[in-house]
């Protein structure tokens, strides 16, 4: 892949302070990081150092914060551990989660582009190759495939109001969905596609990151911690994304 460039080496400090400018810059540096042991060690030490800077400005939080957090805890589902062995599974599948659709996993196929706007993956062969080339972890790729091939996988493809389609493959037993898109309009400068999970009562909205378009396609993107009744949506937002959606989703699909 990309040659080791000294300009990437010197970004360790900037990266550790979350001071890179764009998600693309972060992605590029993380690809470098995956192959640069020296950088990894340095970033780790810098994070510890930054933590010390953070600890130094500790302040007693407002008393109301504690109650607010503790109220939410029982309602907030924890993510499954990544090495999710069967015995460690947290919840039983919820049968009412979504109607089952047959042959879901197959339809999405292996033709989808594997991630981060770098490489299009069309065959199983390239898939394993991509594992080394991209900063997608092996576990993440495995999780994506596990969702697609899960026995309770369901698939919904929907046309969006701005063109193109979005496909969501859901697995209730894994609390995960995999999202791919086709034919979304190219982005104007300064705009990004942002993904959201919206709670059933609408009062909990969580950003699930930005989409990277490559040759008019994206994904697959893995989203974890999906709750019963969640709606998945995509909005067009200013570069860098926002904390809460500023416009209505141009596509919304039950997750």
């Amino acid at each position: 892949m990309a040659p080791l460039r000294s300009s990437q080496h010197t970004l360790t400090g900037v990266y550790a302070l979350d001071a890179l400018d764009t998600d693309a810059e972060v992605a590029r540096f993380e690809r470098h990081l995956a192959r640069c042991q020296g950088c990894t060690g340095q970033v780790r030490g810098f994070r510890v150092t930054a933590t010390r800077l953070g600890m130094a400005v500790s302040r007693p939080p407002p008393p109301a914060l504690r109650a607010a957090v503790m109220d939410e805890v029982p309602r907030t589902r924890q993510l499954p551990a990544l090495d999710d062995r069967p015995g460690h599974r947290r919840a039983a599948p919820r049968p009412t989660w979504l109607p089952r659709l047959a042959a879901a996993g197959a339809a999405i196929g292996l033709a989808a582009a594997i991630t981060l706007g770098v490489v299009l993956v069309n065959t199983q062969n390239q898939l394993s190759q991509a594992r080394h080339q991209l900063s997608v972890t092996k576990t993440e790729l495995a999780a994506i495939n596990a969702v697609r091939t899960a026995s309770d996988a369901t698939l919904v493809t929907k046309a969006t109001s701005i063109g193109g389609t979005v496909t969501v493959v859901s697995s209730a037993s894994r609390d995960q969905i995999v999202v791919t898109t086709r034919g979304l309009p190219a982005l104007r400068a300064g705009k990004v596609y942002q993904l959201w999970l919206i709670g059933s009562n609408g009062n909990r909205i969580r950003s699930e990151g930005l989409l990277v378009l490559h040759n008019g396609r994206t994904g697959p993107v893995l989203i974890s911690g999906v709750l019963s009744g969640d709606i998945f949506g995509v909005t067009l937002e200013p570069a860098g994304g926002t904390v809460q959606p500023t416009v209505k989703p141009f596509v919304a699909i039950p997750a």
């Binding site: 300009s7 010197t10 970004l11 360790t12 400090g13 900037v14 550790a16 302070l17 979350d18 001071a19 890179l20 400018d21 340095q42 780790r44 030490g45 810098f46 994070r47 510890v48 150092t49 930054a50 933590t51 010390r52 800077l53 953070g54 600890m55 130094a56 400005v57 500790s58 302040r59 007693p60 939080p61 407002p62 109301a64 914060l65 504690r66 607010a68 957090v69 503790m70 939410e72 805890v73 029982p74 907030t76 589902r77 924890q78 993510l79 499954p80 551990a81 990544l82 911690g225 937002e237 200013p238 860098g240 994304g241 926002t242 904390v243 809460q244 500023t246």
Partner: protein, 193 residues
């Protein structure tokens, strides 16, 4: 706190392994353990977010999100990659930076850029003059002025390195190395292994 102590400062009576152990229990859904984690981390998390975001109401909101994210993602915490405190503070800093760089905050941010603190004050005006703050301040004093400015603007100010460069009138490539060299010096001064 002795100079030889490794890594993280601790909230009262805590310590790295203590928090790591608690987090392992949180990962199994233990709410009592989470309350103890809250007691250890809420102050540092809130203080850091307040430093970056500056608005108390928004800081409280972001702190709540971060503390719930700690609960939610505890099963994904890997102690082999670093301490629980570093993990939590990394999340807190990212969320704070997300907040100040979001579109909604952009306008407000433009207004407040005029009043961004002289970087050195970032630590100096801490209410609690804790030993840790003293130590961090001493180490910041050991940096060159431009290293100190670059690091405090980026970390406490939440500015991207491009913005830091613009504010200080320094080329991007120089900012990169200033931040890195400054962090190396800070790391060594604080005795981070």
């Amino acid at each position: 706190m002795r100079a030889s102590e490794p890594e993280m400062p601790r909230p009262e009576g805590g310590g790295d392994r203590y928090l790591d152990g608690l987090l392992a229990r949180v990962a199994r859904g233990d709410q009592a353990a989470f309350e103890a984690v809250y007691d250890g981390l809420a102050g540092p998390v809130y203080g850091l977010i307040l430093r970056v975001v500056r608005d108390p109401a928004q800081s409280e909101e972001v702190s709540q999100e971060v503390l719930l994210e700690i609960w939610r993602t505890a099963p994904r915490f890997d102690p082999a990659k670093g301490s629980a405190a570093t993990w939590a503070m990394t999340i807190a800093h990212r969320r704070a930076v997300d907040r100040v760089r979001s579109a909604a905050a952009a306008a407000a941010r433009e207004q407040r850029t005029a009043e961004v603190p002289v970087p050195h004050d970032a630590v100096a005006d801490v209410v609690e003059a804790s030993l840790e703050a003293e130590r961090v301040r001493r180490c910041l004093d050991g940096l060159t002025e431009s290293q100190r400015e670059s690091i405090t603007l980026a970390y406490y100010g939440g500015f991207s390195y491009r913005q830091v460069g613009e504010r200080l009138g320094i080329a991007l490539s120089t900012i990169k190395t200033r931040i890195r060299d400054g962090l190396i010096r800070m790391r060594d001064c604080l005795g981070v292994s």
